[in-house]
Symmetry: C2
Subunit: 351 residues, 2 copies
């Protein structure tokens, strides 16, 4: 791609950004990228979006400006574009160009806060699944009681799956947890309605039987339940996209409710306000730990290229978390590692 | 039943209690029943359990003693009894006798903190589903941001359901919400992975189509998502038992995590402790609102008799919530009302 001329390609990791995606577009994406660059100084960016909007913002972040190339397009995917219309209408949009940059080897990962359905459809069409993978899956990271996070997938890419799909998700998630959590043998659980072997739908029980018998890059620990997600009982929780999406949103809903009610309580009267001020530093730590912006970023796993979805309503901090996740997985060679594990699955007769 | 001799049957509502169920049995059930009697002075109880354990405890609660008949049995269902063995082994157990008391018209409702699988299997076998109901469902009440609660079902009685089952759940839940929340036309949503009509599994989309066309004792509002449970977007959230159980436990898990982390934060140093003390009254109100013990009680809906499941690990306050729920639905004639609505469904060609 000609836009790479003049870019410092000695930097390690190049991230393609859909600058126009999300509710606020460049307003969150540009400062978010600047924050991510502070955390990962070896990043370089290709910014796909409307130059007239991108350049003035970029001038405020000289370090980011030095690490970025802007590729102009005034076309973008709208948040209410119908999935059926997206493939047709996507040519030349900031989202599609950013994905194509990964496909063409110009970038190591793409990050977008745009329309989820569009991003999944385009990423799948342009990047294609890794050989042997039937269904790519959306994964993310959840906070827990303890120190470690939980990796969970699928969060909604596939409503209907079979046992073999779930087994592949287990491998996709285990490699993610290995790199993200730095554990050699991540523990893996299948999300179900109880821990007994006879419980649950056919595809979950079927996956349990296969996982008990084969070699995966982690340790299969049986069925887990909804409360195990935030309990941190296992490193990876594997689910179909139906139950996974409902669980994800249920968790987000309770988090948001607790946050609102708690704020209300600590502003409900002079004593409560004073108490909140005294406990400020302790509560601040808790707020940081549970801040949903720290957990922003759903990685679309199983494709020939890294694609990270940020919440549409993200701010700069939230967007930077999504970029950090993309950078972390790209730096550690997620795609190559997972490719080898999928080959290893095939050697065991699972395809 | 001869044990009713001498009991004051002019009291309105009689509750049969499985005193031996749950982790602590009579230790929680007896004081829990005493608490419920304070809230509902017109209740009477039939206490099924080991007399040697029940009577000494009952002596401590004279009001409850005056409102109760004890029926001795030293047989009980164990928490790890396998579902297959339960029907065979259940004869004469405190749980089965309590359910049979409802079947025989001696009690209006049964409450048990025992083995969930056993309670569901026995209640279904002994009480039988209401004519026209294919699958009974487990329902409970969730706290929300605002003032009202959300009724949700099925929470795990049926993993696999079809569209017609979900439509019946909508009716079971709407009548529950009418009585519990006191709203004339409860709003009803179907739990799904998105609000668009084309999203989700077949049985959920199929139920959506039927509900849009028929007359139910509530207003069908389309699909809702996991976060709508605690947002209070609708009065009733309808789901299959697979996604419903996972969502329920995910919500409980986040609640428990938030509670633990919050306690840790407010005891993490002298300033935090002092702050917590000053804000005590405001935080206490919040704690009461979100206290899971207030939401204890899963009602097994769709049977010819009211059966309420309490958490096995309940204390007295939690057990009293389950009894209060049973009393509330019995007083308002849930079974008769829902029976008429199921007939009305059949008149519309749905059976």
């Amino acid at each position: 791609m000609t836009f790479l001329r003049g870019m410092d390609l000695s930097r390690n990791i190049i991230i393609a950004l859909d600058v126009m995606g999300g509710d606020t577009g460049p307003e969150s994406v540009i400062p978010g990228a600047a924050l991510a660059l502070e955390a990962h100084p070896d990043l370089a960016f290709i910014l796909f979006g409307d130059e007239g909007k991108v350049r003035p913002l970029l001038d405020k972040y000289p370090a980011l400006k030095g690490a970025s190339t802007v590729v102009h397009t005034d076309k973008k995917i709208l948040s209410d574009d119908k999935p059926s219309a997206i493939l047709r209408a996507s040519k030349g949009t900031s989202m599609r160009l950013a994905i194509e940059a990964v496909k063409e080897g110009c970038a190591d990962a793409v990050v977008s806060a745009g329309n989820t359905g569009a991003l999944m459809a385009l990423a799948k069409t342009v990047l294609r699944p890794i050989a042997g993978i039937h269904r790519p899956a959306l994964a993310s990271v959840f906070p827990t009681h303890g120190a470690g996070d939980t990796v969970m997938l699928d969060l909604g890419a596939n409503v209907l799956v079979d046992a073999e799909n779930l087994v592949q998700f287990a491998v996709l998630g285990a490699v993610f947890a290995k790199l993200h959590k730095g554990v050699e043998t991540p523990s893996v659980g299948l999300l179900n309605v109880g821990s007994e072997e006879i419980k649950g739908p056919d595809h979950v029980r079927g996956a349990g039987k296969i996982l008990a018998d084969i070699d995966i890059p982690g340790e299969y620990c049986g069925f887990v339940e909804g409360n195990d997600i935030t309990k941190g009982s296992v490193d990876v929780v594997v689910s179909d996209g139906y139950a996974g999406n409902i669980a994800l949103k249920a968790v987000e809903g309770v988090g948001s409710m607790a946050n609102h009610l708690f704020k209300d309580a600590l502003t409900s009267g002079p004593l409560a306000i004073l108490g909140g001020m005294l406990a400020y530093s302790a509560l601040k730590k808790l707020k940081v730990k549970l801040d949903p912006r720290r957990y922003n970023g759903g990685v679309f796993l199983g494709l020939n290229g890294l694609c990270v979805k940020s919440h549409g309503g993200c701010d700069a901090l939230a967007f930077s978390s999504a970029v950090n996740l993309a950078a972390e997985l790209a730096e550690q060679g997620y795609i190559e590692k997972v490719g080898r594990e999928i080959e290893h699955l095939a050697e065991q007769g699972l395809s």
